[in-house]
């Protein structure tokens, strides 16, 4: 493979002068402590929800996070339907499920690309994002937009998937299998990826339970939870599929968990297209009476939890949003210390935070003087890969 020269590409977040989103305290090469600071994306969405009416909130929560942009509206409409005590018609449920699984595939491919970039495999980055483009084309075909799809509404799905689109979806997934096989083989065979990710950033099962982690981060540490199976919604209980659980808890387990989940998602979509019935896609909902409801879905990063309370008017009284990364990001307090600085970049990225956080990090000595910033952390990680490669090929 012709490896391109690495150009440090600015990731998708402010490369500011004083980032200090993660403050790593080091002694020599080892990280001894981590402090986390967030809040740069805080837009006051929970308060804004109280000023919008029930259908407008669906569009508002879609923009909480761009990558998992279906999970939040999905959890919100499930919460309102829980309040009302209604169930979405079957065809609508299947459509919601297909969109959610397509989103899982595109989100995991995105993460795979970024993880490759942090280790120094820029080719993996380019290929993973190139493999992602047909999925975004599918979204454009079905919903009209590459990224914010607006397919959810209280009572069902907003738009139908036309019968003539089914062959296009199946063909795209068939091509995707070839790309996934390539990534799976690369991760299984490459000794450098093994050296960089096995035994790095281990999250023990005990810590995973104490921090209440969710999603692939939990499943890679042996915690067998998945909202699609436990608190089943849409039509997940009508289809045969498996939950991927591994025991090691290191970065390698997280990579493998996500790749295997992509295979499962492709399989779920194919089975759904075979089983989807004809019929209505939505129930009409007029008023929302007094009450409260809870909705949760398995977003690509974990359990996305929404709670709504109504007092009979046309706006929510309270709308509580809990994104999955809120539970996963604090685990960095235990997974980063004890390892070297060059492993910090990949460990911080392994929980798949819903914002690229390593460039908002800075390394401090115990006395408090700043030594490195986030860009340099990524470069250190890439240099370690180069050293390993030279050692192995020499």
């Amino acid at each position: 493979m012709n490896k391109r020269k690495i150009v440090p590409i600015g990731p998708y977040h402010p490369l500011q002068e004083e980032p200090e989103f993660f403050r790593l305290v080091v002694e020599g090469e080892k990280v001894v402590d981590v402090e986390i600071e967030i809040g740069y994306n805080h837009r006051g969405i929970e308060k804004l929800s109280e000023s919008k009416h029930w259908d407008q909130v669906t569009f508002l929560v879609e923009r909480i996070c761009g990558i998992c942009s279906t999970s939040h509206p999905f959890a919100y409409v499930l919460a309102v339907e829980d309040l009302l005590g209604i169930v979405c018609p079957e065809r609508g449920s299947y459509i919601r499920m297909i969109i959610a699984e397509l989103e899982r595939i595109h989100s995991h491919l995105l993460w795979l690309g970024l993880a490759g970039h942090f280790i120094g495999y820029n080719t993996v980055w380019m290929w993973a994002w190139r493999a992602r483009e047909p999925i975004l084309d599918l979204f454009e075909l079905i919903t009209g937009n590459r990224n914010s799809y607006a397919m959810m509404k209280v009572g069902g799905a907003r738009r139908d998937i036309k019968e003539e689109d089914y062959p296009v979806i199946k063909k795209t997934l068939k091509e995707l299998y070839k790309e996934l096989n390539l990534f799976k083989k690369a991760v299984e065979d490459d000794p450098i990826i093994h050296k960089r990710t096995k035994g790095v950033g281990i999250l023990t099962k005990k810590d995973a339970i104490s921090f209440g982690v969710v999603g692939p981060t939990a499943r890679a540490s042996g915690v067998d939870i998945d909202v699609r199976r436990d608190d089943s919604y849409a039509c997940y209980d009508k289809i045969d599929w498996d939950v991927v659980v591994l025991d090691e808890g290191d970065v390698y387990a997280k990579v493998v968990a996500r790749i295997m989940e992509m295979y499962e998602s492709c399989s779920i979509i194919e089975k759904s297209l075979a089983k989807i019935p004809q019929g209505e896609i939505a129930i009409e909902v007029r008023d929302i009476p007094e009450g409260e409801g809870i909705g949760r879905v398995e977003a690509p990063r974990g359990e996305c939890f929404h709670y709504v309370r109504s007092d009979g008017t046309n706006r929510p009284v309270r709308h509580k949003v809990r994104a999955p990364s809120f539970m996963n990001v604090p685990t960095n307090l235990v997974t980063v210390p004890g390892y070297t600085i060059s492993d910090a970049a990949i460990t911080l990225a392994a929980v798949d935070p819903c914002y690229c956080c390593t460039e908002r990090s800075a390394v401090f000595s115990p006395k408090g003087e700043k030594i490195l910033n986030g860009e340099e952390l990524i470069k250190l990680s890439q240099e370690k890969t180069q050293r390993l490669r030279n050692k192995i090929t020499s």
Partner: protein, 156 residues
Amino acid sequence: MIKDDVKKKLEGKFKEWRVKNPRRIYLVIDKVDLREVAEVLYSHFKMRLSTVSGIDNEDNFELIYHFGYDKTGEIFSIRIFIKNKDNPKIDSLTPMFRAGEWIEREIHEMLGIDFVGNKNLEHLLLDHDWPEGNYPLRKSCILEKRPYPLEERDNE
């Protein structure tokens, strides 16, 4: 389903028990019983805390602790009313598990409730310059009104 086992184990601790549908159970307890009930749910039944919702009602603060039992998908939502709106306090759950650290920090900065026992209640989401005593999620705080003056503009 384990709701009957939970109800038997928590006998005498809850004031109200409502089953909304097979997987959503709501119960009301006194705030002094929080640690005990949480201990039963977390250590004995091995449930997981999903989040805590805080609501500003007219005459009290309401905190709802959402514990989920992953094997069956049931969510037990524990409701606590805090009558003292001038100085709201409640025990922190951080000595039991670490999931509560950030959850309690967020509620503290948004609603102003003090969690006794949580060692770090600094601002999590709001800016460090955000004025003390101004809690955005309280009903008294109006959405469009910013508590600080907008900065000087240097237009072209």
